[in-house]
Every structure is written in structure tokens, then in C-alpha cells.
């Protein structure tokens, strides 16, 4: 009764090749980055004045000059991003699950979420400063709010699209409602939740930086704002680069964790 396994996820070409640390695709991507730096190097300091766009040298120099305060600001921003994002995302997923579990909970929370959803959280920053001041609290709540809205909508949509056949199969095998949520719905919605989480990461960085622009005493957004007032474009660029790189790293971490959690899912590359 043995049956040959279908090679639906393995590319035979990749199997025959010895494994290298860097694939040709990765090498090409690295080349793009290097080219960009080279272009940056040649055009700044010559064609483009320093004030408009600082050169790589200036940028590196400013990192050395600001070292201590840079680390302090980086930590302040990361704390706001990570804590706010996780709190909002966890609450959003829990609310979404609770709303699909019970129609009364759904009736109570649905208008709240519908009222929050169309408002860009950035528009609320003045209120948050008024209510919570320019410390961490307002920024954490704002970031959490953004992540919450994204994740509650993602969770509700994902649960709606769980194939009914899985739920019927679980029921016929004796699973109760709680077990079905734990063993069927939760794993089934994990792939779309990872997608929602990546949106949340990008949004959280944007919200924290925007909040730091408008009122803060620390953080990378605060640093960029100060540098703008004194026209220190090199410091602005350093802030932008650090935000870009960390945002990319956090997104990468979400993808790696997500790939592990959904290692069972068929993928089309």
C-alpha cells in the first residue's frame, strides 16, 4: 500500500545543488545595497550640498559624536514600540476571539471598534498629550490602540474564514467549543495573524515616532525634531537610518517566529 510521496514543496533543482551560505539571489540583493551606498557616496559632498543630504562620512561621524544619547534615545523608542505593540496586539487578538465566541460581547464591542477603526491614531496625539502628558503613558496607549485596531479586525476576518469542514470534523470527533477554539481556530488563524502582526510592527514605529515629534523628552523622534530645528541634517539621517534598520529587524523577527509557528502550512514561493 506504499505510495510515493509527492514532491509538492521541494524544488528538485535546489536538492541537487550543494547548500551555500549565500544564494545567488541574496548576493544580488547585497549588490543593490552596496550600489546604493556607492551612489550616495559619490553624489553627496559634491553635487548635493551637505545641508540637503549628508554624506556617508558625515553620518558616521555624527554617530560617534552622539553615542551616549543615541543609545538612550534608541532604548526609549524601542521600549515604547515593543511594549505598546505587544499590549495592543495581544488585546486585539483576545477581543477578536471573544467577539466571535459570544454574540453579546460582539454587540457590545463592535460599535466601539467601528468608531475607532476609521480614525487615524495620529490624529489623537494632541488629546493624548493633553490627557497623559509627554511621558511614556500616552505613547504606549497610542501605540497599543493602533495595534489593537489592526489585530482585532484581522482576527475577526480570519476566524470568519476558517474552513467549516475543520470545525465539523472536530465536532464529530467529540471536541467541545473551547477545545475547537484551542485546537482548530487558533492554529487556523495563525497565518493571517502573522500578516496582521507585520502591519502592526510598521504602524507601531510610525506612531511612536509621530508621538515623539509632537511631545517628548527622549526618543529618536524627539532627536529628529531637535535636529530639524538646528538644521543638523546628519543627525536627522542617522535617526531615519536607525529607525529603518530596527523596523526591518523587528519585522524579520516576526517573520522568523511566524514561519516557525506556521511550519505546517503549504507555501508557494
Amino acid at each position: 500500500m506504499a505510495e510515493s510521496q509527492t514532491n509538492n514543496e521541494q524544488d528538485p533543482k535546489q536538492l541537487s545543488k550543494p547548500k551555500r551560505i549565500l544564494t545567488a539571489e541574496a548576493k544580488l540583493s547585497i549588490l543593490t545595497v552596496l550600489t546604493a551606498v556607492v551612489i550616495w557616496y559619490f553624489f553627496t559632498d559634491s553635487f548635493i550640498p551637505k545641508l540637503f543630504f549628508p554624506s556617508p562620512m558625515d553620518t558616521v561621524q555624527v554617530v560617534g559624536r552622539m553615542e551616549g544619547v543615541l543609545v538612550e534615545y534608541f532604548i526609549a523608542t524601542m521600549y515604547r514600540v515593543v511594549v505598546g505593540m505587544l499590549a495592543g496586539a495581544i488585546l486585539g487578538v483576545l477581543c477578536g476571539i471573544a467577539m466571535s465566541w459570544n454574540k453579546w460581547i460582539n454587540s457590545i464591542l463592535d460599535p466601539v471598534i467601528e468608531a475607532l477603526r476609521p480614525i487615524p491614531p495620529v490624529a489623537l496625539i494632541p488629546f493624548f498629550i493633553l490627557w497623559f502628558g509627554i511621558g511614556d503613558t500616552g505613547k504606549l496607549i497610542l501605540t497599543a490602540l493602533g495595534g489593537f485596531t489592526v489585530m482585532v479586525v484581522t482576527t475577526l476576518e480570519a476566524i470568519k474564514h476558517v474552513s467549516p469542514i475543520y470545525i465539523m470534523a472536530a465536532r464529530t470527533l467529540g471536541a467541545n467549543r473551547l477545545t475547537i477554539y484551542r485546537t482548530v481556530i487558533l492554529p487556523a488563524i495563525t497565518p493571517p495573524l502573522i500578516g496582521g502582526m507585520r502591519v502592526t510592527v510598521a504602524l507601531s514605529f510610525a506612531l511612536v515616532i509621530a508621538a515623539e515629534f509632537m511631545g517628548a523628552q527622549s526618543g529618536l523622534g524627539y532627536m529628529i525634531m531637535l535636529a530639524r530645528r538646528t538644521l543638523q541634517t546628519d543627525a536627522i539621517l542617522v535617526g531615519v537610518i536607525i529607525i529603518g534598520i530596527t523596523s526591518w529587524i523587528v519585522d524579520r523577527m516576526v517573520r522568523v517566529i511566524g514561519n516557525y509557528l506556521t511550519r505546517w502550512a503549504p507555501r508557494s514561493e
Partner: protein, 258 residues
């Protein structure tokens, strides 16, 4: 002796988008304990709905279903279902899938492992114990599904066109496997209700074949299949088999035309 599955005056209507759809009308059917009953009928005659009602997944608009003397209200691991679509949980390994029902019935861990390992061997997936379904072919996934339905040792096995999505060769192999499985696992009286639109499949597998009418579906006639078990695939070529097939086909064609 009263029948193990008793379907009495079962009716079912659905709220369609424009009007009410009457799927089943006054269905009466008795399946004896240990019997293998196939349900055939024109497409859309409500045979799947009838099986879902027996499973307890769908409640009838009228009438009643009794299994083993008790009325059916909700699903129970004593009445497992093999669906037409792929119902194997992709996030669980082969062993976890097969053991799912045993976990719900709180079977002791050691016993669970024994049953799961036994079934994995029986359906020929020995080497794939810890594989995820994405690594399996359609036929292999169906075997996992079948093993999962057998695992809780149900008295009733409900099958809704389980091999409908498989290619012809795989399908024939699965039918023979099912025949083998029903002999190997005969320690318990198992009653099977099997929906199909494939007449050869129905005659090959069933003790009796119930032929349904077009929608609203009801039982037109129940035919005895005289071949002894276990059956070999070669009986499909016999004159008697083909005569039966022709007879049922005529019944269905008439129904489709009316």
C-alpha cells in the same frame, strides 16, 4: 429486532436567498447493526444533508433520527464522519490527527499511542507518523482521515462521498483498503452509511444500496447486494454486478428526467 440507525419521517428545508429550498421530504430508512449501507441519488438530492443529520451536525426540520435506540441531537465520537473535502488538520502531524478523537474521549495516553500506531500501520502510513499533511498526497491524506474516523472505535461510520475528490486509480485502491479495514477491524459491530454518486463504488462496498429521488429527496427503493464479503475488485466485471449497476442507473436516469 429494531434497526441500529432509524430515520423516521425526516424533513429538511433551508432558507435560500430567494425562497425556501426543500432538501429532504419524509425520509424513512433503517440500517441494521453491522450493515454497510450506501446512499445513491441524483446530485442535489440531499444525501449529504441526510448524513449530516445522522451525524448530529445538522438538525432536521421535522422527523427524528435514532441511533442505538437514542435520539440524535448533537455530534458524538461514537458516530464519526469522513467528509468529501480535505478535513485533515494541516497544523497537526499524521499521528496527532489520528489521535484527535482519542484525546477528546480522554483515552489514557498509552492506549492512545497504541491505537494510533496500529492504525498508522493499518492504513500504510508507517514512516509518516510525524509528517505534516502538506507532505502527503491526496490519497494519503484520505487515509489519515479514515484512520482518524476509526480511532474512536465508533459504532457508526458516516461517509460523505469520501473518495469523490480522488483520481480513479487511487479511488479503487481506497475502496479495497476500506473493504480490508472493515474486515480487519470487525471486532466491533460497525454500521456504515456511505454516500456516493459512483454506482460501482456503491455496489462494490454495500450490503444494501438505498436509491434516493431528486429534490426534495426521499428514499425511492432499497436494494440488496448479494455478494459475500470480503469482495475482490474482480467482481466488478461479473454479469451480476453489471446487471445491478444497469438497474440502479435506470432508476436514477428516470429520476433525473422527471
Amino acid at each position: 429486532m429494531s434497526a441500529y440507525i432509524q430515520i423516521q419521517d425526516v424533513r429538511k428545508s433551508f432558507e435560500g436567498t430567494a425562497r425556501q429550498i426543500e432538501a429532504l421530504r419524509d425520509v424513512n430508512l433503517e440500517v441494521q447493526a453491522g450493515e454497510f449501507m450506501c446512499l445513491v441519488g441524483p446530485s442535489g438530492c440531499g444525501k449529504s444533508t441526510l448524513v449530516f443529520i445522522v451525524a448530529g451536525l445538522v438538525s432536521p426540520s421535522g422527523g427524528a433520527v435514532q441511533v442505538g435506540g437514542a435520539p440524535v441531537h448533537e455530534p458524538d465520537p461514537d458516530r464519526t464522519v469522513v467528509f468529501q473535502g480535505d478535513a485533515v488538520f494541516p497544523w497537526m502531524t499524521v499521528a496527532q490527527n489520528i489521535g484527535y478523537g482519542l484525546q477528546q474521549t480522554k483515552t489514557p495516553k498509552k492506549e492512545q499511542d497504541e491505537i494510533v500506531n496500529h492504525l498508522i500501520d493499518l492504513v500504510g502510513l508507517s514512516g509518516f507518523r510525524d509528517a505534516y499533511p502538506k507532505e502527503l498526497s491526496g490519497g494519503m491524506k484520505k487515509r489519515v482521515d479514515l484512520a482518524r474516523a476509526y480511532a474512536t472505535n465508533p459504532t457508526v461510520l458516516l461517509m460523505d462521498e469520501p473518495f469523490g475528490a480522488l483520481d480513479a486509480i487511487t479511488k479503487e485502491k481506497m475502496q479495497e483498503d476500506l473493504m480490508r479495514l472493515s474486515v480487519a477491524e470487525a471486532d466491533r459491530q460497525r454500521t456504515v452509511l456511505f454516500v456516493t454518486h459512483d454506482l460501482e463504488e456503491a455496489i462494490f462496498l454495500a450490503d444494501r444500496v438505498a436509491v434516493m429521488t431528486a429534490r426534495p429527496g426521499t428514499i425511492q427503493v432499497v436494494l440488496d447486494i448479494p455478494f459475500s464479503r470480503p469482495r475482490e475488485a474482480s467482481i466488478k466485471l461479473s454479469n451480476e454486478f453489471q446487471a445491478l449497476r444497469g438497474h440502479i442507473r435506470e432508476l436514477l436516469v428516470e429520476e433525473e428526467a422527471s
